[in-house]
């Protein structure tokens, strides 16, 4: 599948430093985004550790499929999905250990969202309140469930979604990389088609820009990079209270056929699906 990617990370208008971090690996079709937390520079350390370790683990696994998995293999998911989970568990260990070593980094942590596309299968994994959206046929859908206290309360029916958005506890998350020795990683798989778009973003975007504002931007005939720039700009226009990071992956239709193939297919006819 052909893919076009855009990405942008911005400090925003309020914060001094950018604790978000992302990675794009086009050969693996792997996309990772971490939003770090912790005083001074600790958040940056945590998110960098998170991204680097997951990326490294997946790259090693690409050359050595028998590379040991961290944590239990979940047979209901494909190998790439399990590999993402394994990378995330390793990064959790690393951040947790690093946090315990120095006073300056104690209590640091990070969220993570990771996505990988293999043929038409999208593997996703996440911990925390960063999000992954899928935009298919003009419809924007959030594929991840925030591990935040308020969203947990919404799921339990204790408060409404509107109350959650207004809550002053919106910044409390239930899970994060580095918080504990082990971490529970949410996994999922989706079938994706040409024309679909996958958006990874930190909460600096979604706390200020609503889903209803994101959807039309993705529908514009812009390149993914232009769409990313616009999303960040919009979050800054609406306050820019936190670091804003977006990665947009667009699945492109296959290249046009050569005249020969077209002619051959029209002769043989039928509503057939052809090998490429």
């Amino acid at each position: 599948m052909r893919i076009a990617v855009g990405a942008r990370s911005d400090t925003g208008l309020v914060r001094q430093n950018n604790e978000d971090r992302f990675a794009v690996d086009l050969s693996l079709n792997l996309y990772i985004l971490c939003d770090g937390m912790g005083g001074q520079a600790a958040g940056e350390v945590a998110s960098k550790l998170g991204v680097d370790i997951i990326l490294e683990h997946c790259r090693q696994a690409a050359t050595n499929p028998h590379l040991e998995m961290a944590g239990a293999y979940q047979p209901e998911f494909s190998a790439p999905t399990n590999r993402l989970a394994s990378g995330i568990r390793l990064s959790n260990q690393a951040i947790h250990e690093a946090a315990g070593q120095q006073a300056s980094t104690s209590g640091m942590g990070s969220t993570v969202v990771a996505a990988e596309i293999n043929e038409n299968i999208l593997s996703i994994a996440h911990v925390g309140d960063s999000r992954i959206y899928r935009c298919a046929e003009g419809e924007l859908r959030q594929l991840t469930q925030d591990h935040s206290l308020v969203m947990e309360q919404v799921r339990r029916g204790l408060i409404t979604r509107e109350e959650a958005e207004q809550s002053e506890l919106a910044n409390v998350i239930m899970r994060a990389l580095g918080a504990e020795e082990t971490v529970q990683v949410d996994l999922d798989e989706h079938w994706v088609n040409e024309g679909d778009q996958i958006l990874l973003c930190s909460d600096g975007l979604t706390r200020l820009v609503s889903d209803a504002q994101i959807a039309p931007i993705l529908a514009e005939p812009w390149t993914p990079q232009q769409a990313c720039e616009r999303l960040v700009e919009l979050a800054n226009e609406q306050g820019g209270e936190d670091n804003i990071t977006v990665v947009l992956v667009r699945l492109l239709p296959p290249p046009p056929l050569s005249r020969w193939k077209k002619a051959l297919r029209s002769i043989l006819g039928g509503n057939r699906v052809w090998p490429n």
Partner: protein, 245 residues
């Protein structure tokens, strides 16, 4: 006056002043304190005034009532006591008591708004371990009850690589593609005909954007849930969907 503070993890959900001699706690709407969570019994526990003290009493609930980490039948309450019901905590506060007895977790939540823009992770490890212990009865009970039934495709007609497929994975692709679980054979078999998604014990079939798959002789144009006995047809291949224990 005494009061109860209803909390979930470290978040304060509600404060309940104790104005009656008897207060019932449970999941049913008729209770004075309603906790809507499956781990809570309909009529789970009650507080009653015994002379000048409140007494907590478990109403033979399924998952028990815990007072300061100990399962109890009936116990006298004192200021600062934590009652655990399901995954919710009720903190008993008696204003006659010493204010120093306010549990640390409450102080923490009160500080949170001051750090409003920084993301905070709940330090819940100890609490969660304890909760896991306390609710293990509930989860065991639930898992045996809601044992997920697996979907299964039986080949009625046509050429495929197996006669039967048990749908254990999250995504199941039907087609000639190397990623397909249900492999179709033949020259003109579609690469991907349909995709079956498993979500919380339910199965949803979605068409691939190009080919013509049918469910019960109707053309599959949008995702739909598979029901027991549905027949999926792709060209000459017919597959019947069934649930299996």
């Amino acid at each position: 006056m005494a009061k109860l503070i209803l909390k979930f993890e470290a978040a304060v959900l509600k404060e309940i002043p104790l104005q009656k001699a008897a207060i019932s706690i449970g999941r049913s709407p008729g209770n004075d304190v309603v906790i809507d969570n499956l781990a809570v019994s309909g009529h789970h526990a009650k507080l009653s005034l015994d002379q000048d003290h409140y007494v907590i009493e478990d109403m033979s609930s399924l998952n028990g009532t815990f007072l300061n980490n100990q399962r109890i039948r009936r116990s006298l309450l004192k200021d600062g006591d934590e009652i655990l019901i399901g995954k919710h905590t009720l903190v008993y506060q008696d204003e006659g008591g010493v204010p120093a007895g306010v549990p640390a977790a409450v102080e923490k939540t009160q500080q949170l708004p001051s750090a409003a823009d920084a993301t905070v992770v709940l330090d819940t490890k100890k609490r969660r371990e304890f909760l896991a212990k306390a609710t293990s009865i509930a989860t065991e009970g639930a898992s045996s009850e809601a044992k997920e039934k697996l979907g299964c495709l039986v080949v009625l007609d046509g050429r495929t690589d197996q006669r039967e497929y048990i749908l254990t994975s999250k995504l199941c692709v039907i087609g000639k593609s190397p990623m397909a679980t249900v492999k179709l054979k033949g020259w003109f078999a579609p690469k991907v005909a349909a995709i079956i998604n498993r979500r919380e014990g339910r199965y949803e079939i979605a068409p691939s954007n190009k080919t013509v798959a049918k469910v019960n002789s109707e053309v599959l144009s949008a995702p739909r849930e598979l029901k027991e006995g549905d027949v999926i047809q792709i060209k000459r291949v017919k597959l019947q969907f069934n649930f299996r224990e």
